[in-house]
């Protein structure tokens, strides 16, 4: 028989601590599949951030560093500068990347740092119990926006992909969603491209993934995916915001 789907080799066979139905798991798998497909497991170094994915180093079968909250791009920069021929990726949530780590992600992108960033946008701080994130939708109730996010008070959600796409060093910037099989397949291709961008030495690459947090959204896994589709995508259009030009290597 031919295998249609098996566990990627770069993923360890342990139970992940994520809540039932949390798409962090799917995102992990897509990254592991890309690592397998590109055959780079033995020269890949991951950087885990602080958020629900803090334990990512337990799930990937490759070297890892656990970074301080928001600082994964700086840590990845340190690694990549020392080991330019290794593959370095960060895995960050929206609190981590779009709030406390804003300066680090903007400047890694500006420098065209040859790293791959997996950015999990679930519109909330998952790990700490569902506080408002910069990506939280207007009106969305969280534990620190009990009346719903008020744009007059907290502004409108930040669109990271669009913002980083203004930087020349950002070679590949895409936004994908994990809410159904077709989109997961597209997300898979984006992750591959983001790693290829690094392997081909073209610059900084980021894939923003619209992801679910059933626990803090107070929904079933199924409802949560519907919410991604119906609420998140309209605010966060999917697509590729920057793709590497064939020649242009700064």
């Amino acid at each position: 028989m031919r295998e249609v789907f098996t566990r990627p080799k770069s993923m360890r066979k342990v139970v992940m601590h994520y809540c039932p139905g949390c798409t962090h798991g799917i995102a992990h798998r897509l990254v592991a599949e890309a690592i397998d497909e590109l055959g780079i497991q033995h020269r890949t170094i991951g950087v885990a951030s602080v958020g629900c994915s803090v334990l990512a180093y337990e799930y990937f079968d490759c070297d890892f560093q656990q970074a301080a909250h928001g600082r994964a791009p700086a840590v990845a920069t340190g690694i990549k500068r020392v080991l330019p021929d290794r593959v370095v990726f960060t895995y960050q949530g929206d609190g981590d990347l779009a709030s406390i780590g804003t300066a680090e992600i903007v400047h890694a992108a500006m420098r065209g740092e040859r790293i791959t960033v997996i950015f999990i946008n679930n519109a909330v701080y998952g790990m700490t119990g569902g506080q408002m994130a910069p990506t939280t939708l207007v009106g969305q109730v969280t534990t620190t926006s009990p009346g719903g996010r008020d744009p007059r008070h907290c502004g409108h959600p930040i669109r990271i992909a669009e913002m980083l796409a203004t930087l020349e060093g950002a070679a590949y910037v895409a936004r994908v969603s994990l809410h159904d099989p077709a989109h997961v397949a597209r997300a898979r291709r984006a992750v591959l491209k983001a790693f290829r961008t690094q392997l081909e030495d073209r610059g900084f690459a980021l894939v923003e993934m619209l992801s679910s947090c059933p626990t803090n959204w107070g929904m079933s896994p199924r409802e949560a995916l519907r919410w991604v589709k119906e609420k998140l995508i309209p605010q966060y259009p999917l697509g590729e915001f920057r793709v590497p030009e064939e020649e242009a290597r700064p």
């Binding site: 028989m1 031919r2 295998e3 249609v4 789907f5 098996t6 566990r7 990627p8 993923m11 139970v15 992940m16 994520y18 809540c19 039932p20 139905g21 949390c22 798409t23 962090h24 798991g25 799917i26 798998r29 159904d180 099989p181 997961v184 397949a185 059933p214 079933s220 896994p221 199924r222 995916l225």
Partner: protein, 75 residues
Amino acid sequence: MAKVIFDTERCKSCELCIDFCPRNVLGLSKQLNRQGFYPAYLKDPERCTGCGICARMCPDVVIEVWRDDDEKSEG
């Protein structure tokens, strides 16, 4: 013929595989696993096409799908 293998101890009953199976051939078992969840299982193996969609939507990498080489996916 397709083969769908569940690593039931890792299943968390999220039901996403069930929701997305185009053939609607998956269900939850009545038996708790060690984690305390009712794991998913293939309730109607005959109708499974081996499309692999369930596996691709499972956040916990519970599912493996195998298929006879000549068969075509419908997913």
